[in-house]
Amino acid sequence: MEAAGEVLRSGSSQELHVLAVDDSYVDRKVIEKLLKISSCKVTAVESGARALQFLGLDGEKGALGFNGLKVNLIMTDYSMPGMTGYELLKKIKRSSAFREIPVVIMSSENILTRIDSCLEEGAEEFLVKPVKLSDVRRLMKDCIMRGETEVKEGRRVDKRKLEDDNRTSSLSSSSSTPSSSPSPPSSPPFGFDVATSELISSPPHSSKRAKLRDSD
C-alpha cells in the first residue's frame, strides 16, 4: 500500500507536490498555507502562463518542473487576467504529458454553467472559495486514493495508450476522453468502465461542492 502511494508522490519524498495558480497574492498565501499544513510541497504561481512555464508546456522541458519535482496536483483559480483557469485546464488536459495530473478549479463564484464546463473539460473538482482546510484534506485523500487504486489495478501505464485509442471512437458528448475523465470523488475507483451516461449527466458532487451563498 505504501509503495503504491509513493509512486504518485514526487521524487523520494512522501509529500505531494501541488502547483497552485492564482493571481491574488492573498489567495496564494492562504492556499500555500493550507497545503503546507496538509504536508504538501507547494509551488505557487500568479498566472496560467507561469504555470505552463513551470510545467515546461510552453518550452522544451519534459514533465518535470524547473526544480525537478513532478507535479501531482494542480489547483487553479478560475478568474484570472490573461489565461483563465478554464483555459489553463484545457491546455493541460490536451497535453499528452500532463493530462493525467488532476486539476482542481477554485472560484469565488458559484455559477452552475461554469462548474459544468470545468468538470466536462476534465477538472477533478470545482471548489467554491474561500477554500478551507477540510477541502484540502479531502482533496489529498482523493488524490492518494486515486493513485493507489490505479497502481494497484495496474492501469496507470496503460491508461494513456487506451486514451488515445478511445479518443477517436469516443461516444461521449463531452470533450474529454472517457477513461481519463474523473468520476465524482465519492465513487472510487476511477476506472475504465465509467459509463458514457455518467459523464453526460451532471456529477452529483458538483452540487455538493457548489454551496449556495446567500449574498449572491
Partner: protein, 156 residues
C-alpha cells in the same frame, strides 16, 4: 498580577472578535485563518491581512480614479477590480466588505454612476473600519505575547 494582565488581554481579544462576528464584519473564514497559525508561522494572520490591506488600498485607489473620470467611466475595469476585491475579502473573511463589493458590482454592470459612487464611499468606510479594528486586534495580541514573555525572568 501578570496572570491578570494576560487574562484581561485574552478577554479583550474575545470581546473584539465577538463584536466583529456579531456585526457580520468578519465571518468564519477569519477563524479558519487563525487555525492555520502554528509555531512555524505565528504571525500568519497578520501577514496575510497586511497583504490584504496593501492590495485593497490599491484597488480602492483604482476604483476611485476610474469613477472620477467623468468622461469615460470604465465600468468593465471596475468590475475586474471588484472581482479581485471580492475574492480577497472573502479569503480573509471580510464579509461586509465583500457584500458591499457585490452591490457595487451590480451598480457598475448597470453603468449606474451615482450608485457606484455611493457604493465606493460605503466601501471606503467599511474598509477603514475593518482596518482599524484588525490593527486593534493585532495590537492586543502583541501585548499578549509580551505579557507572556515577561513572566520568564521571574520564574528563576
Amino acid at each position: 498580577m501578570l496572570g491578570l494582565a494576560a487574562d484581561r488581554l485574552r478577554a479583550d481579544t474575545n470581546r473584539l472578535l465577538a463584536f466583529l462576528f456579531h456585526q457580520g464584519i468578519l465571518d468564519e473564514q477569519f477563524l479558519q485563518l487563525q487555525q492555520l497559525e502554528d509555531e512555524s508561522s505565528p504571525n500568519f494572520v497578520s501577514e496575510v491581512v497586511n497583504i490584504y490591506f496593501h492590495e485593497s488600498e490599491k484597488l480602492l485607489r483604482n476604483l476611485r480614479s476610474l469613477l472620477m473620470d467623468r468622461e469615460l467611466s470604465d465600468y468593465n475595469k471596475m468590475g475586474i477590480h471588484l472581482n479581485q476585491f471580492m475574492g480577497s475579502s472573502s479569503s480573509i473573511g471580510a464579509k461586509r466588505i465583500r457584500n458591499v463589493c457585490v452591490a457595487f458590482r451590480a451598480a457598475s454592470e448597470q453603468n449606474n454612476r451615482a450608485g457606484c459612487l455611493r457604493a465606493l464611499e460605503l466601501l471606503e468606510h467599511e474598509y477603514c473600519f475593518l482596518k482599524n479594528k484588525l490593527h486593534e486586534l493585532f495590537q492586543i495580541q502583541q501585548q499578549r505575547v509580551l505579557a507572556a514573555g515577561v513572566r520568564y525572568p521571574m520564574q528563576n
